[in-house]
Amino acid sequence: MSTMTAIDPKATVLPLLEGSAWPGAAEALEQVHGLPVPSIKTEAWKYTRVGKLFNQPYAAPKGDANVVMPARLPFEVTRVVFVNGHFRADLSDDLKGQPHVVIDSLQHHLSHGPVRNHYGHITPVNERLFSAMNAAAPTDGLLLLVFKNTTVEKPVHVLRITTDGGQLIQPRDLFLIQEGAKAEVIEEHISLSSEVTSTLVNSVRESYVAEGAELLVHKLQRDAAAHIAQESVQVDAKGHYSISTTTLEGSLVRNDINVSLSGPEAHAELNGVYLLNGTTHCDNHTYIGHDVPDCTSDELYKGIIAEKGTGVFNGKVYVKQDAQRTRAYQSNANILQGDDARIFAKPELEIYADDVKCSHGCTIGRLDEKGLFYLRSRGVSESEARRMLSHAFMTDVLERITNEDWRKHLASLIDAKLETL
């Protein structure tokens, strides 16, 4: 018998990663070759098996697919559309409406100064395979550049549409919010076919929030593709970064959020909602680095896991030596429904400074039996009572969303999802 040479499990994606002209692509590709596919023995991927993502062939994303556009959001936004990761000017709004604000395809600006100075700087390619894969061949993505002291008038609605299965889509965004500027982004992932479960969306976004600037991101995942996402964020002095991640669908979802609070009095707020059923697996992995004194962070993740769903939450707060007067709070609450639902939580604190107030809390349980009984005794049907209590359970995360229009819209989507749990 001939001796078999070991086959690189990444062979299914490698052909799609070659020959990209993006900055640093060659170096990233080299890293892809060297980095192993994470297994359950890799601490950061202990509860999320990604090996199966490499068991199927992938095609390059189709940018010119015909799409039937969904209804617009019921409030004023600037809509930017990406179809299978490719920017579609024909489907997007007029993006040049406001001076001192650049909203455009990142690919068009790769040679420009601000992009060159920031692209790839806070997402290392030598540690995490998926970040290296993305950097080796990004599909395209959004550049949001807001000049000093400018406030973006309307929220930017980034609509990412996946049309078919079997694609490897690698969105790559860069958000640069300069000193004193303000921006709000609503990112929505939707799909137009039930076959998209075999598509892998491997995204990376780098966000820089400069001194006194503010960036709000609302992320809504409601397509059935596999999502591996990396958010790398750097917040300077008195900067404010807030992200809320809502996961309603997805075959395998992994959201890494890595925030570095690098200037005094920087603040980060991370919120999350996950409603999982079917066999959806959702892994929220957050890291907040308190690198300097006087920063604050607040984290709240809540989820309901039904049927054969699996929820994972790993939140780490790291307080560097001398990062005194740090205030960091983290909370994770889960409700399990159904005998096959599972949750794995790992809230971590790693602290090297003494004048700190840090805490985390984590709960796992079911809907309050007494509450159910109370509602039933008042003639509310069981399913209605469950829905009311589930809705109430999600309320405090939703209340943190300051954009009222979006909050209402999201609440209606969440309620619709709760009907199916």
């Binding site: 949750i343 939580a345 790992k346 971590e348 107030k357 805490s359 809390g361 984590c362």
Partner: protein, 482 residues
Amino acid sequence: MAQDTDDILREVTSKEYAYGFITAIESDKAAKGLSEDIVRFISAKKNEPEWMLEWRLEAYRIWQKMEEPHWAHVHYPKIDYQNAYYYSAPKKKPTLNSLDEADPELIATFEKLGISMEEQKRLAGVAVDIVFDSVSVKTTFQAALKEKGIIFCSFSDAVHEHPELIKKYLGSVVPRTDNYFAALNSAVFSDGSFCYIPPGVRCPMELSTYFRINEAMTGQFERTLLIADEGAYVSYLEGCTAPIRDEHQLHAAVVELVALKDAEIKYSTVQNWYPGDKDGKGGIYNFVTKRGMCLGDRSKISWTQVETGSAITWKYPSCVLKGDYSTGEFYSVAVTNNRQQADTGTKMTHIGKGTKSTIVSKGISAGFSNNSYRGLVKIGKGAKGARNFSQCDSLLLGDRCGAHTFPYIESENPTAMVEHEATTSKIGEDQIFYLNQRGIETEKAVSLIVNGYCKEVLNQLPMEFAVEAQKLLAVSLEGSVG
């Protein structure tokens, strides 16, 4: 006032280990290094039967195939397992009936520790099985226990006298394959304690062992096996102090507890191995595997520990809650100072229906030390109505130390309830100010606050031990406490 606190903290960090001394007793040593021959030598020294030797050899083979784990949040130079002695026994093994006949040097040693055997005997109903290095020197109160049918003896004696119990339970909770250090211990364990409480018997006194590493460069590999038969109850105390050494010493003990139906075991530890000097030189590596199995329905195992010593502490007293409605508890105070490192916590594995567990962990870090809580709460699919509550608090004294929390929480049953909370902070200046304002000086105020902070755990200790534990806390944080 901040200056005061700084002074106190400086004093705390410069406090030397008070219990460092070497007792010169001749000892009988095996050659350096580890091999099948050494395992055979240890077994032969103890006149062990063939099955015991085979069990050890198998463990040695398993160990050889394993790799030393490095996932804990601790750092230490590579251990050379071939550069240590694996067996050392006091040469003069006295067989004594009263303390008067004991080696006067030994008595003096215990007096220096502040807990003389005389005092121990006076304290109501404490039977002490003293392990001096590796061989049980003295067992007291044997007769009183015998009357109740309780077996409390050295592990070596149990191998000869109760082979059926050893064969049945040894390795049933911590198998040889469990981890690197458990496998090592299984191959070369020198001695330890064995205890069996027959059905329906409530052990009339607190059982206690005093462990002590004495011989330079001797790893100590204790093995403890405790079985509480149906409806039995036992409270077991374990305490450690060790003398100053320059060479790092490895301590890899294994403790196995088995609670059958309706049985209850309370296991309390006060650990004060030599922590090394203030520059991190010397000190014990305490890599211990402790696990209890709630085998029967409605059984209960409770761990209480006060950890003040060791250069490195790496241990997770755990409970496997197999029986329906069984209960596991873990109460811990871990103090680290100077360059000490501790990675400790617990694992609660819920398998049976209606199982309950409680975790209360209090970490105190000072100097340049690092103190981590690492824990696992696992609710299996069949653990219907399981319940867990965990609380892990960390207190930081000084701005060069670290406090970390790494809890793992896993649930696969929708009827289970799990709650975990953790906080990290330093002693509030407002708290100190409040006490100052009422005429309490800063030193006493810090002491009050630390004591209050640990109260929940100290309350779980038997009275005699609580006194000793408070003494140890005071010594570990001298200058700021009591």
